[in-house]
Symmetry: C2
Subunit: 715 residues, 2 copies
């Protein structure tokens, strides 16, 4: 009878919670992929565990246990608590050298320091699920892996897996300013409320740490690479220290972007010359101060001598001189320097795509061991599609950290649905051929031996209730973490995981949603920058089309610089007959890229200037293919809208409505991109549209007249 | 048996919801005073209603019913739904002319168009609680009043009350910019996501409307009085129209701040001269365009010829010329112009406190009937304490709209706890003596006959999860609405209501919390600007003390302008021997304010310059009294911290912790204000501290050196 009442009560419970829960709070996206709603009946039983037990608690094991309590309580619909004993069907958390675990002689030797192993074992005579690793951080990652396993519909008692991250530094770079704005941020203000720190520790900081730990991110650069020196003053160090305290149990270190001229601005020195002993002493003292406040401070990220930032070249020193001086200040404390290779200079008339390689390739092997050079995925700037950066494979004696942009500065910002998994995968699977076939970017990033390795993502996180400005933008944060952990990951698998965790594991929901996601980034390429075009966005805010812009002071500020279209053709010739940027790739690759005929259609106009009538590998003439690409991109968005409408019954009202509204915006804007681009190309090439193609809705003057003075994210 | 299971299930339901609810979502302040958590057992029963019934549904009655469903379900812990029949113990919503209600012959004649009447009646033979009014907006306000009644612990079946608002326009003024920043905003970005409007209608917009309707606010000015013309362009009108659609059922009209030079900036005219026929025609066309998009558009708020804003005086026309021209454009559609009297001019050497009166008093009776002149509570600018503005009572033939600042620009911004109810009350109860004793500001604001009346509050609302940056800042939004509805309200009663709705009706919680609130604004006066001092805040951001500042270009930008302290004395002489600002008040009041001996201590230094040894009515010499005030202010904050700590067991963790952290900040900053101020006054007057007073923690140079380049809210 009690059982019957219990079941009846349980059913009522769920009903009642649903009835009283405010829709605005119930599903507003705040929970991210850590959603922990009751699973469908079939899987719910398989996600039921009796308790959580921790052997030899630490702050990190405690938060891991709390996450499991929260997660399994939610997924199973039954409260799961901590126990000190080890009941049957419980989950046990313990590091591998705990005697009870060591006695099991599990294959933990293959794990690295952050790896985990999950499997059914017998402890104290009871069958339990053990989550272990060499460190408590490993156990934490294992706990999240076990939750993911359950969230994606698998039975807890079958959980048998292990994994170790392929990279050491898995970081988010926040381009957050001290005034609360976020450069290229489309999800509201900075998550860091600098004004009320260190006193007030917003619970969001903890939830941020949980989300990051769940995907293996272990570091966060708090402030914009276009840094203010103030972030290195005592009050701001105290604020950063408060965040570090919140993040520490989650295995997340705090890093800061360092302004290279800080010794002048804060220290009153006359120079920031890295070889000046006073400068070096100032940075050593600053590092000491930082480590007194934050004993596990991660280190510095530096943007130097790029886009107006100060740097060692101001004193005729090299990037290595600058990086190594900072590295020497951090080395006694175990800190690292992440030195950005994103450099191009006003004075340099060389092809912008070549400048980073030109500056850095000669420095290979000259950096201190605690320096890692941070290289963007492509040689220009986070475009919808770029070929991989030629520095990958070209600096075998220098650790390279791959930098992706999770925030979609050039891919429709907040409102366009573009899953970046395929972009990450495309870069990582690119073969540099630097050390023979199979020398993929993923392998370069994973490194060799004890050298530093890492991956950084420019965060898309703000104070928006749903963190990333839209539900689907959350998938890019998620995917970045999963690829940083495993550069060989599959974007399709990652999408399936994310969709199941975010919307529930029912294949009837997961299948259409992952289908939408799969081609969504390619659709953006199609309607914005097909066939290897790049950087056609309007000035400054990078929102909307502006291929006609050619009157800005610096040549590389102009979209024209990136397409060079005229009556005779379009594209930038980067082969031997042009800027010879192709020569920066490994010889075998350089040879094939030197010739349009052996250059993939997808990056043709990046590498080559060809006539409008040029025949692609598809057999189509270029102009016809371009128009078809634009139309395909627009049609894909139409498809996404239809697919989204079809899953309406399975999605909560609030998240459904927001995505639906954003898809409406995207549909209108995809068409705008297509029409504005075609209106411009036609004004240049004088060609008619292929039969059946719709003419642009307005004339070119109309598109040129559009103005967006309040576009977000514009520094 | 079913009954028993039902009870058991009910108990489980509550437990289960509590257990699975994420603390971060459960009590993060988002619910404001519409919290609807289950009442204590005793009151819960009395808040149980059987159903909600609507007679003759309209969009407004529908949202009223939804609110009652939500509210009574939450308060009673039992789901309450809509019914088409009228069951016993239900709540019935209907306007008074509905035949069933008209048949009851209730005393609705005394209500105005927005008033409500709630009482137990018999309908269809059943005892029900009827909520009625002449319009559906009245019924909506009555529904919220009934919820308030229950939330504060009263039995629904005893609900017998009626009320009508004393003012016609009860508005929030948002100083929100189109780029998402908020001038003097301390609660995050603008609530309006202009970028995704009109497509995306954030559910927050609806919750904003609910909160406002619950306190009787019936209009909102969406954009900053320092306005951009862009807000009057077609895309932004469409965005405003989307918000108007959301707000309409809640009885809330949308207004816009209008930039006076818009005909030049948008219309390409050469002038914005209000007497130029082309200018008038441009505004007429713009008004027509606005009303096509927003049929119930409220009208314009205008800041003209003040702090650099354009206005009619640029063309040697009067404020009346400017206002009446705009009024003529709006009149055919029923719109109003709210014309701000907050003017002071760079060229004008007259006491800043006198300039508004000088400009506007001569215009009394010259404004069109659909113009209302908006006057700040005091003559300077929203200081912790100001005597009431001399324009109140001085313009009997002109409707005056009282403007308060809810956002605490000068009262500690986000982090200081200062309940403004006593400030509102103090201004409203001030007797202008303009029409004999009892001519209070409240009576001036309530107006006479059919003339426009109104009250405006500069909003403290942003995208912060708790809307206003802190839980207690919510009380100021609440109190503003309650005082706008009833300028005779009691700040203590309003505080009790708010505290009961926000934290639960248990007197053991309400009593200490209202005790904290009661003196909190006076504490800010004490530690920032005692005895009638004003505007001693640091430059631009108005955060922290800067009484020493005297080197800014315009005299009235300098705190020195507001205190004139030297060895011999302190204060601004505004009596007949000084600027004679006292003469702007009604003769009887002017006479008493002319003499320090008959001027209240609380505003002494506002009206008079006196020696440091001057004896106050309390008998204390000025300097000793000042030090005592500073110390009392600091001590009050200490008391608040202790009181808050004492209610910890009764407050949820998240809201408790945030307020506790903010009280820590306030305690440190109250001491900073006291110490910095004393260090400066002592440097000026050379006097020792009274015996027992603690010396400042630092020397004056230290206080002067504090700098806050990233303070929020600074335009």
């Amino acid at each position: 009878m009690i059982g019957a009442i219990g079941r009846f009560a349980g059913a009522l419970t769920i009903l009642a919670c649903a009835a009283y829960a405010r829709p605005a709070q119930a599903e507003d996206g705040y929970d991210l992929w850590l959603r922990y709603r009751p699973l469908p009946q079939l899987q719910r039983k398989a996600a039921t565990v009796s308790a959580i037990t921790v052997l030899r608690e630490s702050p990190t094991l405690r938060v891991a246990a709390e996450e499991l309590e929260r997660g399994f309580s939610g997924l199973s619909g039954h409260e799961v608590g901590r126990q000190d004993t080890i009941p049957a069907d419980s989950v046990v958390l313990a590091i591998a050298r705990t005697p009870e675990v060591a006695a099991l002689a599990l294959p933990v030797a293959a794990l690295n320091e952050e790896g985990y192993l999950v499997r059914p074992v017998t402890l104290g005579g009871r069958r339990v699920t053990l989550v272990t690793g060499k460190t408590d951080r490993g156990v934490l990652y294992g706990a999240f892996a076990l939750l993911r396993w359950a969230q994606t519909g698998h039975a807890v008692r079958t959980a048998t897996f292990s994994s170790s991250p392929a990279t050491k530094l898995r970081l988010l770079d926040h381009w957050d300013n001290l005034d609360g704005t976020v450069e290229r941020g489309y999800a509201g203000q900075s998550l860091w409320d600098w004004w009320t720190l260190p006193d007030f520790r917003d619970p969001r900081y903890t939830d941020y740490a949980r989300a990051n730990a769940s995907i293996g991110i272990n570091g966060t650069v708090l402030n914009n690479v276009n840094a203010k020196a103030d972030s290195l003053t005592a009050p701001y160090i105290a604020k950063a220290a408060a965040l570090a305290d919140v993040f520490r149990p989650y295995g997340i270190k705090v890093y800061l972007s360092a302004r290279f001229s800080a010794p002048i601005e804060l220290g009153g020195l006359k120079t920031a010359d890295p070889l000046d002993p006073q400068v070096a002493a100032w940075w050593r003292a600053k590092a000491d101060e930082l480590y007194r406040a934050i004993p596990d401070f991660g280190g510095f990220l530096v943007k130097a001598n790029s886009e107006g930032q100060p740097g060692p070249q101001d004193y005729k020193r090299s990037h290595a001189d600058g990086a190594n001086m900072l590295a020497a200040a951090l080395a006694p404390h175990g800190g690292v320097v992440m030195w950005r290779a994103f450099v191009y200079a006003q004075e340099n008339a060389e092809d912008r795509a070549k400048q980073a390689y030109d500056d850095f390739k000669p420095l290979d092997g000259k950096f201190a061991p605690n320096v890692i050079v941070q290289v963007k995925n492509g040689a220009i700037d986070f475009q919808p599609r770029e070929p991989f950066h030629p520095l990958f494979g070209a600096m075998p004696r220098t650790p390279l950290m791959l930098e992706f942009q999770i925030t979609k500065e050039y891919l429709g910002q907040a409102t366009h649905l573009a899953y970046l998994g395929p972009q990450f995968e495309e870069t990582l699977r690119s073969d540099t051929l630097a050390d023979g076939p199979g020398s993929t970017v993923a392998r370069v990033v994973a490194g060799t031996g004890d050298a530093l390795t890492g991956m950084a993502g420019v965060a898309n996180i703000g104070r928006s209730r749903d963190w990333s400005g839209s539900t689907f933008n959350q998938s890019n944060w998620y995917a970045f973490g999963r690829f940083a952990w495993d550069p060989q990951a599959s974007s399709a698998d990652v999408a399936r995981e994310w969709a199941a965790m975010t919307f529930g594991p029912d294949p009837a929901i997961v299948a259409p949603i992952t289908k939408m996601m799969a081609g969504s980034r390619e659709a953006v390429v199609d309607y914005m920058t097909p066939l290897g075009l790049a950087h056609l966005m309007a000035t400054a805010h990078h929102y909307g089309p502006g291929p006609w812009i050619s009157d800005l002071k610096r040549p590389e500020w102009n979209p024209y610089y990136y397409h060079r279209a005229d009556k005779d053709g379009i594209g930038v010739e980067r082969g031997p007959g042009g800027t010879n940027a192709t020569s920066q790739y490994a010889p075998a690759l350089a040879r094939s890229l030197a010739d349009p005929a052996t250059t993939p259609d997808a990056t043709l106009l990046w590498f080559h200037r060809v006539p409008w009538t040029y025949r692609l590998k598809s057999g189509k003439p270029l102009w016809q293919a371009m128009v078809a690409d634009y139309d395909r991109g627009v049609a894909y968005v139409d498809d996404m809208r239809r697919t989204w409408a079809s899953v309406r019954p399975a999605i909560d009202g609030e998240r459904f409505a927001k995505t639906a509204a954003f898809l409406d915006i995207q549909q209108r804007e995809a068409l705008w991109w297509r029409d504005a681009s075609l209106a411009y190309w036609m004004s240049v090439n004088g060609l008619p549209l292929p039969p059946g193609a719709a003419p642009p809705a307005h004339d070119l003057a109309w598109y040129k007249a559009q103005s967006f003075p309040y576009a977000p994210g514009n520094p």
